[in-house]
Symmetry: C2
Subunit: 186 residues, 2 copies
DNA sequence: GTCTATAAAGCGATAGAC
DNA sequence: GTCTATCGCTTTATAGAC
């Protein structure tokens, strides 16, 4: 249900996703939709964004934070991201909202999604011996590369752009060696 | 004129930019707007995208291709990009359209913008001795980092994210040394 | 060229029958 | 819980006066 809703918002954006389209995609009439979402379209989008955020927390962020082997945790993150975004064919709804005009409506959720991602990845990188600052910047870089890869892959309509970017990003995180003086145990 | 139009599309997206908003931003009534753009909103957006593309060609891509000193050309590119995007406060309209539902309408222009960017940067990198393939991947990476930085900076509402990403990207391009066996003169 | 008036369609949202 | 009918408003676009 929220999943079908998400695909409509993904495909048409917040403004573009009319109740007619939503009704068609979910197979529910407007009456039923307003029964489930008394808050209307804004509530629908908010719950969709919330469910995406929750999915990332349980499927990506938490495993990444809890991973006993940070390298394996990071590898799982990239694998999960590749699957979720269907190797670049699927767009990041949170990113779309961040760029769009509906950003103000959902600013908190959008920010939380990205902050949690950077935090989780930065923690794994600290376990590899990076200083808090370096870990944070490396994590920020990786997240931003994924978002940029989604934009570029969709713009030039070539999902190999996405795969390549994901591989480069993963490889760089694995190869970047922490400075000796910054190495620490956690 | 096209500039004022561009800001409206940037701020509200293609769907969100109603003729009422456009009329207000340009100071022209609907009648006048349809006098200049008989094709309506779609023509307005197409011409705005075209003008942005043209700006990047003359201000960024061409200087980058023609630069006698590739390192200086690349530095100018990053400086120009930082200025254009107002250090991350301004969003990339082409990127927004690429992610949005209006993408199909303007797919050609969107693709051309990014292809031309990657091509121009790849040419400069080849002049530094990189192989065509490596140069292309490095260029693709830099362009995608800029787009991702715009998304992330806007999402977390912190333009320092953009500045940092631009600096890292520039620095990496300057530090990545071409393989000896791939070095060539152009 | 610029305006106002208006058409025709689509929008989000509501009411009320079932 | 799901539907249809409908409200009130906004949308893009056009017509025609000036």
């Amino acid at each position: 249900m929220l999943s079908a809703l998400g695909e409509v918002f993904r495909a048409h954006g917040y403004e573009g996703a009319s109740l007619a389209l939503i009704s068609e995609a979910t197979g529910l009439g407007k009456g039923s939709l307003y029964h489930f979402f008394p808050g209307g379209k804004e509530q629908m989008a908010a719950e969709v964004l919330g469910s995406i955020d929750a999915w990332f927390v349980t499927e990506i962020y938490r495993p990444l934070r809890k991973a006993s082997d940070p390298r394996g945790g990071i590898a799982d993150m990239f694998a999960g991201v590749d699957t979720y975004f269907r190797s670049g064919r699927r767009v990041c709804l949170i990113g779309v909202v961040a760029l769009g005009n509906a950003r103000d409506l959902f600013a908190d959720r959008v920010k939380e999604y990205f902050v949690a991602w950077v935090d989780a990845l930065a923690l794994a990188l600290r376990k590899l011996g990076h200083s808090p600052t370096v870990a944070r910047h490396l994590a920020e870089q990786a997240v931003l590369e994924i978002q940029g890869a989604l934009v570029l892959a969709r713009a030039v309509n070539d999902r190999k752009v996405f795969s390549r970017a994901l591989m480069r990003s993963h490889r760089r995180l694995m190869l970047t060696r922490p400075e000796r003086s910054q190495r620490r145990s956690i």
